[in-house]
Amino acid sequence: MRSASAALALFFAATILLFSLSAPRFASASTVENLMSGFSFVAILAMGQAFPILVRGIDLSIGAIVGLVGMIVFDLSLILHVPGYLILPLALFAGALAGALNGVLVVHLRLQPFIATLATLAAYRGLTYAISGRQLVPGLTTTPIRDPWLTGIETYFDVGRWLGLSRLVNMPWVPLSFVIMLAVFAVLQVLLTSTRFGRDIYATGGNHEAARLAGIRVNGVIITAYALAGLCAAIAALIMVARFTTATEALGAGMELTAIAAAVIGGVSLAGGVGAMFGPALGAFLLGAILIGLTLQGVPQFVQQIITGAILLAAVGYDRLLSVRRQRRLSAPSTAAT
């Protein structure tokens, strides 16, 4: 795993270097700023998605949860005029709850994660349409959300000036969303590597039966993993709402696939039990850098789609190659049990 994230970091660096040399204006403060503000929420989604995948599941509904939470924020703020400091915890709670429901379907009703979350994908998106304040009160479609607690998330810090470097180099302004992403990263990484719960996640994903026999409450662990994915989706939704000052019914559509792609590129194995937070986060920014770089180079977007697919395939192919090599090296002592 360590070597995999090193390889990813190397690949990221190489991509940046390549675009810096070839794409006009790629190596500029504003591109870095765009990357930070435009892909921090993708990184948060990818980190959230990593949890269900770590416990050998998948969550297809996080895009729909983003839409649902976005619409809840919209309704609370514009229709019910709930103050922002109350909306924030409510939104996070709603996201976690929607995620936990996925977990309950998977654990207690023993549905396959793919099907359970496919169904909730449709159900959450349908719920979003049903509660849409844009349909209920047509005038609100052109009313931005102005609550400073919410829009305040879209703030930029002139780090360069604080550090007194602005005279030397043109430093990007750092968006608050990026800081949030770093905070989420720090918390989840600590949670995953330094707490009992993190070990339980790896154990459950790595060997479900062994985890159960070791006295780990695997059901609780799995539900929590899905709830965390939902919570991350809610955080991403808040960032997006702040960025757009509104929510649309289609908010977050299709983002689950981007998040899964970022997580997989980031070395989170779909077989469960392998991966950390660094990979998915970097994977999201890698996808972002590629999209921005190719756009700056004037490559049409359909070609970008092809290239993204090819990179994803290459990433898993490379991962597979590594594991096959490892297997071969260790085939001697680790053949199947007698």
Partner: protein, 341 residues
Amino acid sequence: MQEEKTNDRRNFLKTIALGSAAVAGAGAGMFSAPGDRPIAVGMPRARAEGTRYKTAFIQWQPHTVPAAWSKGIEEVLGPQQIVDYELLDGQNKVEVQVSLVETLISQGASVIFLQPIDSVALAPSIAKAKRAGISVITLNIDATEPHASHVEMNHYYGAMDIAKAMGDAMGGKGKVAILNAPPGIIIRDQRTNGFVDGLKKHHPDIQVVADQVADWDRKKAQDVLNTILAANPDLGGVYGVNDSMALGAVDVAKEKGLLGKIAIFGNDGETAALESIEAGELTGTQYTDVYQQGRLAAAAATVLATGGVEAGAFAQQSRLLMPYVIATKANVGSIQPSQRW
């Protein structure tokens, strides 16, 4: 009619040129109080000789309308050897459009043509572009943030006119169905509201019996209308929120021998729709010369990019309203081949 059109066109060009110049003058004279507005990066006006101006159009998603705009824009910008132009795809996602605007900002574009998916959601990005000295021209969908210019074929009033024309065709009574777009994009709301309000105003006896989502899609429209017809065999009118969906309705009517019995209206006025009207199948559509709309936007852009007008200088945005007609069999012949897109 053609004479009139060309005159219209000339008048529009003049309006734009003069209007923009006036705005620019006003801006230069009145709003650039030195010191209080630090002009940020990428000031296009301060360019050295020989640099190229970068422009781009962020469309909603690939579709006939933005494709025609793009063609119109290219017609004007293409011959101008100092302007680069490219078409970008918003993938029907707000976040993609926002990210593209920001990419264009960092690229130092001069003018951004934008067909926003949502009026509010793109507003912060437009504000940001303005701060960076970039002029934004919106097409068809306005944004809540004032910007350089808005070129639109009005959806709300157009849909009202469609309602009126449809009601006339139906004799002022009966049932109609709307083939609608999925929620999440603002033209859907504008057109639907306009249509419903238009019926209320002009033909209060007509009743909307179905409002179903057909995903902008001809095939989906066929399926949906088939079912609606099964539930309401006495349907008198169908409004497709775009032409593709209206043509899907035509397919169904043709198959069931209902042509002439159901008034079918579309919106936008693409070539296929006009041909269908000529063939006596589609009843009508809201037509505007979208090429021309693109050309107008491009003309405005040319002035904005090269004419030394500062993007932050606008107190108010200019609005260019495209003339539209409700094209029906009676007047469709007057729309020239070169105006069809």
